[in-house]
Amino acid sequence: MSFSKDSIGNSEQLEQLRKILLKEDRAELLRIKKVLEEKEELGKHVSPIIEDHILSLKKNFPKEFEAVVDKQIENKLKASQDELVAILFPALGTMINKYVAYQMSELRESIDARINVTKNTGPIGWFRRNLLGIKDSEWILAKSGEANIEGMYVIEMGSGLLLGSASNVDTMDKDLLAGMLTAIQSFAEDAFMKGQQKVDIIEYDKLSIFTQSYPKFYIAVALNGRLTNSDKEKLSDALLSFVNENLNSIVIEKSNTIEAEIHDAINKRFFKNSETKDTQLILDND
């Protein structure tokens, strides 16, 4: 391809003309190009707009998106019902259990307050209860919520060494249990600077551990259920009499068979039938 001198001259003139006519436009174009290509420059112009939008979104989000979000959550919940039940069930179960146990102990406290007598069973008991306005349903409920002894541990004071025990259920290693209980006692004693005062009850979920201290040892009673104040008094009296009548002599003698002697003494005194592992505690004269 060849160009004549005239045509070259025309195109140069045309370019000159373009330069003159488009000078301002080209300068503006360059400026815009610079703004678009340089991050900092672009940021100066765009950031305020984005910030305004974000602020506006924050301010108006509930109004503008509430319906959408609600719908999304609703759909998600509907689609994950099984998972939700699996997550919530154990927590709800524990809460309900605790609530029922607490209500039972309240009911029993209230009945104990109304009839502070020992003979409440049989026809005479029924008559007494009716006279005092205690419904049979209340009585049955209260009786069903009574704490059962699961184990009794005689533990040397200070060292936490287990002297002897009897238990109806399989628990963790009894020596370890005695050691950990003593550690908790020691911790509480030191943390609260209470000297000789001891923790007398530890409650966890539906389980309670009642402890009673004597000079050389303490007794820990593991119970399934919560103790009312009246239960605590009864248990405390029963333990004191057991210590005076049976335990003190065994501990003082401290023979090689101390563990077996304590085991037999607890079974004989506190469990109706150690052979069949009856968990019913003999405290009442019922």
Partner: protein, 165 residues
């Protein structure tokens, strides 16, 4: 059956829990674990065919022994004071700590143990031993298990014989 309460005490991170785990479960945790409060473990050992049960209280590390709750030491049969051979700060306070323990639990078996032998050379061990306030009863390594069994067996033997050093 003979039973005894054995206390593991000493500074932070000297390897008490590792010794505890090594003796009780024959394992060594590679991860550093700061003891919180007290951890109780049990091990029954046989000394000349007689069973001796050791209830081991692994206490949280304290800079000084007077910071340890007094009641933890009550009626203990033995106290093992552990220090870290690689950290001088864990044995620089030995004189005070050992005197304190002897006053707090008079008559009990008190063992001074230097742990983490696997991390130092023989010459370093010799230098450390020469500068200790009191000669260590045993040098152990919870990592390799060196002397750990011997430490507790020695205590079990003392308990059985009723000898308190």
């Amino acid at each position: 059956m003979t039973k005894g309460k054995v206390i593991l005490t000493g500074n932070f991170g000297v390897g008490k829990t590792s010794l505890f785990n090594r003796f009780l479960y024959n394992e060594f945790g590679e991860k550093y674990l700061t003891t919180i409060g007290v951890k109780v473990g049990k091990k029954a050992v046989k000394v000349e065919e007689v069973e001796v049960t050791l209830l081991i209280w692994d206490l949280a590390g304290e800079i000084s022994q007077d910071k340890v709750p007094n009641s933890y030491f009550l009626e203990s049969s033995a106290v093992i004071y552990v220090f870290d051979l690689t950290r001088a700060s864990t044995y620089s306070n030995l004189e005070f700590d050992l005197k304190y323990l002897r006053e707090k639990v008079p008559g009990v078996i008190l063992k001074l143990v230097g742990n983490k032998k696997d991390l130092i050379s023989e010459s370093e061990l010799q230098t450390i031993s020469e500068n200790l306030y009191q000669k260590a009863d045993l040098i152990t390594s919870a990592k390799t298990g060196e002397n750990v069994e011997d430490l507790f067996m020695d205590i079990a033997r003392h308990l059985l014989e009723g000898k308190h050093s």
